[in-house]
Symmetry: C2
DNA sequence: TAAAATAATTAGACTGTTCTGTTTATATTA
DNA sequence: TAATATAAACAGAACAGTCTAATTATTTTA
């Protein structure tokens, strides 16, 4: 029989709270309240707020990479349709969430990515991991002549995903999915060969 | 002879500090220290930190809109080349700044755009103002058959500028301009007819 | 296997600092 | 003189993080 609390549960609460409220706007007390653990337990598991945030990003990044890999492996459509379907799903999730969160990695990158090396590089690392997953799908699309060969898979992935984050961020103030929908249409019109 | 301090000077300090450090990470005391004004004067001019931030965004938004209008009016190149030149300049500024700031409006949108209606809508409003300036240039490009007519000027502006913000945000963690350069190349390859 | 020792976790009160914003008093300008 | 600006002290809440102690789990020893 283990102990009462475990790191993973606290990290999941942290993911939720940080994603919705940002980093500096969230106090440790809020994490404690929402996860129901006392302060002593928190500092038993984590060195500091910074350390905690880094681990939150790491867990989310790894989980999401695995999820993306599975999604594209299980997708039986063409590479382009798989990518469209992936982004549509992301957009639906964001809409269901009333555009309140966006992506934790993007939010953290923008808010503290430059001030805090630990958090910044952790966020960048996982972003690159996702790009590699996307690039492998794009490469397939290039081989089947669906996607332009004017740029490398990684260049296209970087272009596409950074652009997606751009429109995703926009929805935080527009609170409207129309711009995301147009983005999807335009992007896939552009990258097809 | 006027009074010792004026609102505009304090707003400029606020712009600089907020852009580099974000909103919640900055205390009023830091603004006071860097602008040299005492707290009493600050609260004489501004109702609250929130009110101050809103006015900072407003001033920056208006100034930048004017600046953009002038830039495109004075630009003697073709619409596409003017747009390229505009984004190149933005990228150069960001590089000179060692990728430490990004755009205040984007930063604020991502960090507090969803929690704070006042700041969120102020940021959105000015973003839309910029889009309109860009859209009028794009429209010229469509009329001279430089730019695709598959989408409206505003749709293209939204796509382009949100995408630019996406890559701009990326530089906060990559600290490398290469992705911005590729973005520029790709975007203008895509939108040309 | 049972008792003893050690290690890890849980618990929350507490510390010193910083936060936004107020208040009161004085100085400046019109 | 009347309105506004400046100045600094002040208030109360919130901040990250520490501390001591109690409890629970695990390992060691008899």
């Amino acid at each position: 029989m283990g102990y009462k609390y475990n790191k993973e549960d606290i990290l999941n609460v942290g993911y939720d709270v940080f994603r919705r409220n940002g980093y500096h706007n969230v106090g440790i007390n809020q994490i404690l309240k929402e996860s129901g653990i006392p302060k002593g337990s928190f500092y038993n598991f984590f060195e500091s707020k910074e350390d905690f945030a880094q681990q939150v990003i790491r867990q989310y990044g790894e989980t999401n990479t695995d999820w993306m890999k599975d999604f594209f492996e299980d997708c039986s459509l063409s590479p382009v349709e798989c990518l469209k379907s992936f982004y549509s799903m992301m957009m639906n999730l964001n809409e269901e969430d009333e555009y309140s969160g966006g992506c934790l990695v993007n939010n953290m990158s923008v808010e503290v990515g430059r001030q805090n090396d630990l958090i910044g590089s952790e966020a960048n690392q996982h972003f690159i991991g996702w790009l590699n997953v996307l690039a492998s799908v794009i490469e397939k699309g290039q081989k089947s002549n669906e996607i332009t060969k004017d740029f490398t898979p990684l260049e296209l992935a970087e272009y596409m995903h950074a652009g997606f984050y751009g429109v995703l961020s926009r929805t935080k103030v527009t609170r409207n999915r129309i711009y995301m929908d147009i983005w999807l249409e335009m992007t896939f019109k552009f990258i097809q060969s």
